[in-house]
Symmetry: C3
Subunit: 664 residues, 3 copies
């Protein structure tokens, strides 16, 4: 990505409006500082109204118009919503549920990723667009499809079954290996012919978990194959333009580690629920994931809402200043662009009650004023461009483990991954310690501290990587129900958690999940007592020492949280879910041992601090989420890029106020 300014703009759907509105749009974009729009995302039927008819004239005029107004284009392949003629002519395009019900035309994303007809026509429209616009001066980026693996996450049709079989053949070569990997001796599920294999369609009881797991992998790969197919076409015509597709935060059905490695730039759609008082934590966590997916390279906030969305049960309005806070949070956490869905609020269709940069009420609205003000403020941050955010702490996230952990038939099916990640993330957020997310097979040595919550499924490479990380001097926090199964979701025998027992210095004899209404307590070695929830591991210490022990139940007095030294490093094991206070206490101990420093140790409550660095340039972002005016101590000298004022010891922030301090 190579833009001279922070990107500012949004999805632009001019096909919904008469052409005279376009002129006004372009003028107002200029007024609002818009420098990039995502164009054509849902324009397939406009470009190709019938199978043999293509209409690019309107798009030609638009591209020229935008260019004339200094607005660049992130041009989309419009393949997220196949036209009615395609569905009618090729009914195999339509997806099918696990009970055999067809999903029909009338909304969007009504396609099976394995449909030959869909894939052929999608490739064709992508090629036509690329061929026609690759040299247009407004074109700066390609946007493939839209929000892959949403709406339809998997298709159970016969074509999908055939594709699944092909994928399995590629993976396993022989049926023997598949039978072995899936454990098909259980419940007499042995396959003697590839054709006997089906997707995990609705069945009378719990479906083979290894089959479900491969099905999840296969579906993620299928969406990626759709992307790859189009990217190859776009690259052919536009070898020098970046290609992206918009992510959706922690989106379970698509393995974004794989996706990100195929993209030129990571982009994301972020719609925090601002009714939730912790929305900024959840949103920050998503920003950190995006930065991590792109290996700390700048990413783009591709979509956010100017104010309300329309798809929640009750849709909050973003209060004054909140949209600006959301925008600066993204930049603070590594984004080089802030965009919206969408430019002009629709007047028809399913999303007409979704807000736009330009509301139904026009320019005499609070929202427009805030949108315009932000667009005119952002150029002050040009120097931030391409700087990076660094973190000393990583939380391990592996999509495959996520899928495996949340399959059915577990000791506690209320154990879900994201709340556990969040339980570790939030105390760090609250004290302004920046966190990356890391794939368990990635190079962990750059982190002082690695946290691995519920890393249930680990392959041999992960086992080696994590043990080595500690041995070489790393600090690890691993939580319960980790290291239990291999990549086929088969138990790693020989005592839980078999591959990490030595490193952790303990043995987990058994799990004791709790009923919904009960908790336990743990007592830390310093005498403090905390509530804990959901689950207890019953731990036998080998080399490890308890730093907190259970106080109730038949295993009272035994270790709940342990510490072990292994090689040059430290391994902590957390056999339960401590409450908020317990987690804060724990992370304080751990951070002290790992020598982790927050950006500031005495920031007022509700203030979010981040740092971006570019060579010798360093920028502190300070965001005030509280309703109070606060003074944020800044220990180094610098000046606020937004106001130009010099910083001397501290910066004052109004409620919802923001400062971006370039350090000296």
């Amino acid at each position: 990505m190579n833009f001279p300014h922070l990107i500012y703009g949004g999805d632009y759907n001019p096909e919904q409006w008469p052409e005279d509105i376009w002129i006004e749009d372009a003028r107002l974009m200029q007024e609002a500082g818009v420098n990039l729009v995502s164009l054509g995302i849902f324009a397939w039927s406009k470009i190709q109204p019938t199978q043999n008819e293509f209409d690019f004239d309107w798009l030609d005029r638009l591209m020229d118009l935008l260019h004339a107004h200094g607005v660049n284009v992130n041009l989309a392949t419009p393949t997220a919503s196949p036209p009615a003629w395609l569905v009618r002519g090729y009914p195999d395009v339509l997806p099918v549920t696990d009970t055999g019900a067809t999903l029909w035309h009338g909304s969007r994303r009504h396609y099976c990723p394995h449909s030959i007809s869909y894939r052929k026509h999608a490739a064709e429209i992508a090629a036509r667009l690329a061929e026609r616009y690759t040299n247009h001066p407004a074109l700066k980026m390609w946007h493939v499809d839209n929000e892959y693996a949403s709406g339809v996450t998997e298709c159970f049709c016969d074509a999908s079954a055939a594709a699944f079989r092909e994928w399995l053949k590629q993976k396993y070569s022989s049926l023997d290996r598949l039978n072995e990997s899936w454990g098909t001796t259980f419940w007499s599920q042995h396959y003697s012919d590839w054709e006997e294999i089906h997707p995990p369609r609705k069945a009378p009881a719990a479906i083979n978990p290894s089959q479900q797991l491969d099905w999840a992998r296969f579906n993620s790969d299928s969406w990626l194959a759709c992307f790859d197919e189009q990217k190859a076409i776009l690259n052919k015509f536009s070898p020098n333009l970046p290609v992206t597709t918009n992510f959706m935060g922690f989106h379970k059905p698509a393995d974004y580690w794989k996706f990100a490695s195929h993209e030129d730039v990571v982009s994301n759609d972020n719609y925090p629920d601002t009714f939730d008082p912790e929305w900024m934590v959840q949103s920050g966590m998503i920003c950190d994931l995006m930065r991590s997916l792109g290996d700390r390279h700048p990413w783009i906030l591709m979509e956010q809402s100017p104010t309300h969305v329309n798809w929640r049960q009750r849709n909050p309005t973003k209060r004054p200043g909140v949209m600006r806070l959301c925008s600066y949070q993204a930049i603070a956490r590594g984004a080089d662009g802030v965009m919206f869905f969408q430019w002009r609020a629709s007047k028809a269709g399913a999303e007409k009650h979704h807000s736009g940069m330009l509301p139904h009420g026009g320019t005499d609205t609070r929202v427009w004023r805030e949108v315009k003000a932000l667009g005119n403020e952002l150029p002050k941050l040009d120097s931030v461009l391409a700087s990076q955010v660094k973190a000393d702490v990583a939380i391990v996230l592996d999509w495959e483990n996520w899928w495996a952990l949340e399959l059915d038939s577990k000791p506690s099916n209320d154990l879900k991954l994201l709340p556990q990640l969040y339980a570790y993330y939030k105390p760090l957020f609250d004290c302004n310690i920046t966190v990356d997310f890391a794939h368990p097979e990635s190079d962990l040595s750059r982190y002082k501290l690695v946290i691995a919550p519920n890393l249930y499924m680990v392959n041999d490479s992960t086992v080696k990587n994590i043990n080595r990380y500690v041995e070489n001097g790393g600090n690890l926090v691993m939580s319960f129900f980790s290291g239990i199964v291999d990549q086929n979701e088969q138990i790693r025998l020989d005592g839980y958690p078999a591959p990490f027992r030595e490193m952790l210095g303990l043995l987990v004899e058994e799990y004791a999940p709790y009923p919904e209404t009960l908790t336990n307590t743990i007592r830390a070695t310093n005498g403090r007592s905390f509530e804990c929830m959901l689950w207890s591991d019953v731990i036998h210490l080998k080399n490890a020492k308890a730093i907190a022990s259970y106080e109730q139940d038949y295993y009272a007095g035994s270790a709940a949280i342990t510490h072990n030294t292994f090689g040059k490093g430290n391994a902590f094991y957390v056999g339960t879910v401590p409450d908020k206070n317990g987690m804060e206490w724990l992370l304080e101990q751990v951070c002290r041992m790992a020598d982790i420093q927050p950006i500031s140790t005495n920031a007022p409550a509700g203030v979010e601090l981040l740092q971006r660095v570019n060579g010798n340039s360093s920028f502190i972002f300070a965001l005030n989420h509280s309703n109070e005016k606060v003074n944020v101590p800044i220990e180094r000298r610098g000046s606020d890029l937004l106001t130009g004022t010099e910083i001397n010891g501290s910066v004052a922030l109004e409620p919802s106020g923001v400062a971006v301090i370039q350090l000296k």
Copy 2:
């Protein structure tokens, strides 16, 4: 309708019983004062046991028997439950869900209204019945089918798809107009051929709302077409007999304004849940709707339960006196007949635990005694016959707005129409102010006050009608989220609520729905403070004045409820949902300004008062819903038709007591 007495009777299903029981039935009907029964509603398979076999003999005997006992007949076309032979011979009769599942024989209403086979056979049985019985002396009314649009409200089969396309062709003439009206540029939904259009079958995401709205219109029209087809046949044979079909209160799937205009008399099935302490308010509201649908002409309470029904999770018994209260409430609110489902409680089938006028336990039961007593009391009210109930207040109800408002993807999907209507209706009920319901395009000038809760979708004619009503001196209360979209559910641009901004004297800049757990407060200009819920409009006053303002959130201090003078009239706007006290306060202000008088200003709590008028005759109905003996002040002189006593200043009512006072 031209009956010499108030109608009294019920559904009669003699086909469930051996013929010797019929004699006893007829005798007991006489004893109970029954003068009309609805016959044959579910007798299709009895009349036509196979396709080519008709058996009318039993029905002939029954009609004669009833006539001999002075019981008239409301003869039904038995088309609500197609026989098994029809389903087997013509499987296209069966309805299909949006996921493609067939709904089978075994209960009732298992037919697709668009099935050619069904329609043909339904028309034939109607014609056979009409031909045979039109001149029978017992026959006084035709009852078409039963509870249209219940059980199955819509069918998604291919025949329905074809019928939908035909309906759309009739409506739009050209695909261009359809594409424009449905906003199909959104999400690439453009249609280039009529055959591409389908019902809104299950889809991956939110379905085009204009398509959904037309689908709702189409289905309502389809049920009406079924009715019309049969009515035309019945009219041909029996040009002088009234034709009805039984309504189901506020039944969303069928636009009863349209239905009522095709009927000769409105009739309704009413089954209040007497576990609900406000059942009499809900039931009263339904009665008022029925009267309004028939333009104040007398209507018939076609079905109520003598005591319990069988289809709720827990089915309350009607306590002593409650069935009588229900019956008089209907008459008080304009009914000229009171009927039951059903005469004799069934001994088999899905409704055997539904009560009958004649219980399983026979005549030595409380229920029978109450049924018989009421039947023998009603003739005292002959003078009430054909009198009317007048109202100065109307609440606007438009089925199409109801459908549109409750489509998905709204700012708050917890906003539902009926609770909002009810919130305005109940305070008026409580102080004995009679209320009509009115279609927004109807003549509103006869009302002193018109209340328009959440009139979200308005066509141009409605816009003109409502603005003109106020301009000409009317008093209007309009609530939030009104005037937002046109008849295609497309936004009326230019600031909310665009078509009413001038009349209301304000601009709504944005909506701020609340989360489920939060409320706000409003402070009235007189200093009182009320809680409010669900939603705030953020209002900018133009000519209007605030009469209450918000106290919390970022728009604190701005107007919540406003008053504007427009032309000769007054327009109130309510930007939120006030609590009970707030609503009572508001309506008190409004009624004072509109000069609305209750029937009595000092009736005791729990007493329901209504007035029927016929030329110079005037009748006050007083119903005591409380558990206390009360004295109801009656300012004019008269006599109680039930007891014959003269009224002098007041009437005393026992708990559950009723008086019907003919004024002098």
Copy 3:
């Protein structure tokens, strides 16, 4: 059944493990005292990997190995999980839901019991196994299929429809009788051709209840037919070996009275939820059912979990001692064997997180130690073998009534049978009064007290049997909503409860169910007052006397619980659901009148006492479910078989402690 020792063992699935593990398994089984394993339950695809290929070699070796280690075999027909080749070759094997969705391969029990292909192949594999192993010295029992009527309880495919028609033809001979029995005049449901009849597939409204009832009977019979077909084959080859199939406690879809009468020995799978503080009551109730199903003959606890299961939302660990308590409870209540699912915890598949006798962690685990200790303790109880448990009290349970009572469209659809049975069972359990379950048509004369909760549906034979029981001197407690319908679920007319009015000495005029949030109170003749819930019968006394009366609502003062003498017996009627205290008071009165004695009158709380008797031998089982050490008074002399100590007045029990006292 003819075993020299109490059975101890579990399901054994060696096909999931490499052959070298088998040797270790056999050795450890010996070590743990295992004397029987259930083999081959899910081995179909292992034995018959493709249609024309059979592999018995591995099974031969296993049988020999087990025999060599003194482990006997309960050999299973592996028909609960059809192989993939069978499903692919004969797709009619797959079951279909009421909405027409197919249930696929991938879990287990994916077969339609009416599939010809399935039945043919199941019979073949059963015959092959029987032929080959009938003379093997390890073989001691046959285990048919696994947990019939679970996963899939009913299939709606066309083959099932055809089978249903055949079953109906057998039952009714003529369509006229079917129409009469189903009450098809209601809602025009008359059938004029057998082919018009379908399973109760998804329909628009409540489906004919008599049709639903016959469908329930038919499905139960179909599963039994599957069993019978295999049993006949096994009996042919092994005329002297017992044949069983494992039950699932109170499992509604299969009429276990019928099943048990076709089995040689009753066996059961019992998985109490030990998070529930009343688990031992629920579990005891299941044990008592099993003993009753087998007419008091010893039964086998075929499956229990060593510790946790994997299929609940949160799966409790069995705390130390609890597995042993569960095991002795089964023996105390008549079991001659205690087995587990499964021997070795799986490493793959849907149940890998279900516990095994041998955990993933191996022999150095609490669970293994407890399993081994129990296996080595049980031989001390050899003298208990074949002794029986006797009871003076029976609770009536009829599967057909259960089905009928819980069909929809009842006065209160929150009335469910099991909670009502439990409400009577628990107070008796708590004071150590042993209870049988009895079919209402069985010989009741051996019981001093018979309790009939909600015996809604009764055929003429039941009516006669129960009335005669009382007349001849029995003591009966019957609760509300009994005697209401006949075997076709048609009302027994002439005042509720028509067939029992004389015997009970009363008339129920009407039912008054309560809303969810309300209760009533009853006052007993001795002045005590109790809460009551769910329902009131409004009762008119004839000969009966009230022993408790309602205090609220319109029937206040009328009888709630009554007593009548009829012939030589006593009939109590309970018109409501008394709370716990009320039920204890009631049962105390009743037991006093019926002269029922608990095993001990002064056992400490939390102690469960049972007695087994064999000729002159008598054994008292004492189980301490409390967390306290207790002293249990034992009035007769004896010695504890587990410790060998003499009992003198009392036995001391540790928390979770057990004593088995052979009386002198």
